[in-house]
Symmetry: D2
């Protein structure tokens, strides 16, 4: 199955449909059913003890699965997360960006399931994992 | 088991340790092992189609469980989310705040488990559910 | 929304479509979008230390959500679990049956979401929680 | 980190501490923080439509993470599942065994997190994914 949008086109699409997160995420790599997304860590993502907040990591996983789905099915802004789960396993390294490696395990007609491993940039072991289900609206 | 902090004290504590989310959440009710938290919905929480973003709802559930734990164990800023899951079940009503009803199902010495139902203010049926596990650091 | 099948009819239906679990579960109560199901605990459910096995508690939650869905939509054997999550929070009491209190949070045309609290019979605090999503096939 | 027990020793240990599941699972491969486990599919695992039951797939994932933890930490029968999540993504092939590829993402002093992909034997795409957290009791 061919990729429908590459990294540049995906970035432009994201800017257009999610202007609220403009600049929060960098699409580093796109291939069939897999993407790598970087989140430059900013002050607002931090929590007591220097940890990146759970919601920030959740947002990274969520947008990564969205991007992976868009990469395959094309412009379909209305795909929505229906559920998911996550484990926060290690404290992210202070001052390092987060890198999300995302893979689609299923890309069905109406549902997609993606899994994500999140790393501190340069770290060998994942700081978090997440799985997310997206509902894909029928083509009009 | 008695409540260790009431709504006002919790709000002041949250402002102190999470200045990043100041003003994002309103603690409406606190009782033994249960809290109700309101999230005034702002433009930055929205997604295409007028839906409140998954990360915004995740953040509401996450902070609600944190507040419920703090209400019982007292000032312990370093409690961290270790994992959880969520289902986004209905589209939130446009323009309505979100209300999170959170209950601790377990409050152990080292782990707490909370469950949340999130409603659009005035809505009868939950728009989302979440469960979260927090790790509570040992008292020094 | 009216209940489509009561406890007795549900029990007969379960025996017919899931003969593999005959006798494993007792439907104690059925109401709109909620059921209570008992699992008489047997030797094969136990694990080292006298704990009821995770898979046995999973099976109880899974069948309870299935029964809750059938109670509302009527005979629809092909509903399938698409995903879920669980927390095992306390050690079940030795020798006590397990009781599952299950509630449907969403009953859509194609997806249902149920949540379950599992108790040791006579215990006040839940030993486990689970949430499950079922896919409901379209009526032929 | 060296493997503490190989496949044969793990199989003998499992027979000893979980006699209830004797013969249900075959440990095919063990390496550092990863195992492959086969579940020969039997009549009792099936559900209407020829699908392998959710609880059977859950049991396979659960035992696989347990085996992966035991392989690393040695005989520690009392490790218990504290929580997890799963997605059932495709219908398993009729008559094929299930194969679980399990990897530990975290092996801490007190908690381990494992993720599993389950395949129909010979199938290229996963039928299910699961993540599980185990609590490891302190060494006496």
């Amino acid at each position: 199955m061919a990729v429908a949008m590459g990294a540049e086109e995906l970035a432009a699409f994201l800017d257009e449909v999610f202007p609220q997160v403009r600049g929060d995420f960098v699409i580093e790599h796109v291939e069939e059913c897999a993407v790598r997304v970087r989140m430059p860590v900013a002050e607002r993502h931090l929590r007591p003890g220097g940890t990146v907040s759970g919601p920030a990591m959740f947002a990274l996983a969520d947008v990564s699965v969205y991007i992976a789905v868009m990469a395959m099915v094309g412009r379909e802004a209305l795909a929505v997360t229906t559920g998911g789960s996550f484990d926060f396993m290690r404290k992210p390294m202070a001052g390092a960006d987060l890198i999300c490696e995302c893979r689609l395990l299923k890309l069905g007609r109406v549902l997609a399931v993606g899994e994500c491993l999140i790393f501190s940039d340069g770290g060998a072991e994942p700081v978090a994992r997440a799985s997310m289900t997206y509902s894909i609206p029928p083509k009009r």
